[in-house]
């Protein structure tokens, strides 16, 4: 697989000239004009988004260029750690009212990423070079972040909407784990379902991003399929591990030492 990835990433046949990059600006310009015509008031956002897309991606490109060339494990680890921290901060915003949530999302996303990457490395599916680890890690972290957000959103609703039921369990002498079992289970499923659904419909509804990118970069479609299968399976593992770890941490965040349900702060 490593040889395959090497060939794939090494065979970029398609790139844009500076002139073509500039010509690309006609696309957001058209969007801005359409927004003005229909008074949608999203012109500023479109312009800001376009500038940020160029800036952020070029900066990332430069960083990756440096890290790939440096080919040192600590640079790779640093980039992955930065990804985990940014993703954790973003996911934690979904759990308004919980305390110490950033710590929990960081642990969950880090666990999901570490377990999946360790399996991929341990089974020699990918090599440890930054060229492979960073894009693969980025996909894992991104999906783990989305899963965290979905779990948190649903779990928060469950605690608010089903407080009476949860406290009825506690009042019968149930441990917190039993009291929130139904709501927590629903929340974990909520975090995993998009990835599982994606597995079921991949290739039928849309061509996934990784596969599309590989084909555009000149890869043989069958080779791109192999790569996409690896991506789908690794994302499922990452999302599952992340959601389960987060669920365990949320269970502890939701109750105090006296097994009383905490009130979510507004």
């Amino acid at each position: 697989m490593s040889a395959f990835l090497s060939n794939l990433f090494g065979s970029v046949h398609w790139s844009l000239s500076p002139l073509q990059l500039l010509a690309l600006l006609s696309l957001p310009t058209l969007s801005v004009l359409l927004s003005l015509w229909r008074s949608l008031h999203v012109e500023r956002d479109l312009i800001e988004g376009t500038i940020r897309t160029f800036l952020q991606l070029f900066i990332v490109g430069l960083v990756l260029h440096f890290v790939f060339n440096a080919n040192r494990w600590w640079w790779t680890a640093l980039v992955l750690a930065a990804m985990v921290i940014i993703a954790s901060q973003n996911a934690a915003r979904r759990g308004k009212g919980f305390t110490h949530l950033f710590r929990s999302t960081t642990i969950a996303i880090a666990c999901g990423t570490a377990v999946t990457v360790a399996l991929l490395l341990g089974l020699h599916i990918i090599s440890g070079q930054p060229r492979y680890l960073i894009p693969v890690g980025g996909m894992i972290v991104g999906n783990a972040m989305v899963a965290c957000g979905l779990v948190l959103n649903r779990y928060r609703e469950e605690l608010i909407d089903h407080r009476a039921e949860i406290e009825a369990w506690l009042s019968l002498g149930a441990p917190p784990r039993i009291a929130v079992q139904r709501g927590l289970g629903a929340s974990l499923r909520n975090g995993m379902i998009p990835t599982i659904d994606q597995m079921k419909t991949v290739g039928l509804v849309t061509l996934p991003g990784m596969m599309t990118g590989s084909i555009l970069a000149g890869a043989d479609p069958l080779a791109a399929v192999e790569l996409q299968i690896m991506v789908m399976l690794m994302l499922t593992t990452a999302v599952m591990v992340t959601a389960l770890v987060l669920g365990e941490l949320l269970l502890h965040l939701s109750f105090n030492a006296q097994e009383q349900l905490r009130v979510l702060t507004s």
Partner: protein, 250 residues
């Protein structure tokens, strides 16, 4: 030794005082009615007694031991809260009734518990979503009794029922409590209920105990805190034994 003792209990949330220096006792086989207008802190008090929340100040004792000295789950089982009927778990009646014993891996005779609560044994397999208000309240009661509690905390057990069902449930609770030698703390906003079933009455207003004692002493003081319809509800009299008239004018 009192079955339950509450000593100068205060409870604040975000600097808002929900309970203020509440003190009272409960004895074996006693029914204590806690009455008070809406927002008086009655349900908050029950949560404190079931240890779903802890006080900001004050002490609670069960059989002479501080609450904190009891294992939390054991305490909650023995001082059982029969929450309002909305707290039934999705599923069958038997799932609900036997929830407590099953937590501890103990056997549970759902049919016998249902019959004790005036429901037919074959109700066990019914879905709780299909039950009427009175039936739901009976299932809540059966679920609470399945834990074999020493103290029953009842949060407006007849609050959502029509007058006919109200009397039946009230009579049932009082009779079951006597049979099982439970102490009962019965939160209600119906003065008739307090007068009919309670050995003692505690009047709670704005989180403070305004009066406690026999119904004859407390209910006349309570009348001023209730809308007239609650004191003499023309069509609110529970079925079953006739109720004594509450003298709101004295």
């Amino acid at each position: 030794m009192h079955l339950l003792e509450v000593e100068r209990l205060s409870y604040r949330v975000d600097s808002k005082r929900l309970l203020e220096e509440v003190s009272f006792t409960l004895e074996e086989d006693e029914i204590l009615a806690v009455i008070g207008p809406s927002g008086a802190g009655k349900s908050t008090l029950l949560r404190q007694l079931n240890r779903l929340a802890d006080p900001s100040e004050g002490n609670r004792f069960f059989r002479g031991k501080p609450y904190e000295a009891w294992p939390i789950r054991e305490l909650r089982r023995r001082i059982a809260l029969a929450a309002q009927q909305g707290s039934l778990f999705p599923g069958s009646v038997a799932d609900n009734v036997c929830a407590g014993p099953q937590l501890r891996g103990q056997p549970c005779d759902a049919a016998a518990l249902l019959q004790a609560c005036d429901l037919p044994a074959d109700f066990a397999s019914r879905d709780v979503a299909d039950l009427s208000g009175g039936e739901r309240q009976r299932v809540v009661l059966a679920r609470t009794l399945a834990n074999d509690p020493d103290v029953l905390l009842l949060d407006e057990p007849t609050g959502a029922l029509d007058p006919g069902a109200r009397g039946q449930i009230g009579d049932l609770i009082a009779s079951l409590a006597r049979q099982r030698h439970c102490g009962v703390i019965w939160v209600t906003h119906l003065l008739e209920e307090a007068e009919r079933y309670a050995d003692r009455v505690l009047l709670l207003v704005h989180g403070r105990v305004v009066a406690q004692g026999s119904a004859a002493t407390v209910l006349p003081q309570a009348a001023q805190y209730f809308p007239s319809t609650s004191v003499h509800p023309a069509n609110d009299a529970p079925a079953g034994k006739p109720l004594k008239e509450v003298d709101a004018s004295s």
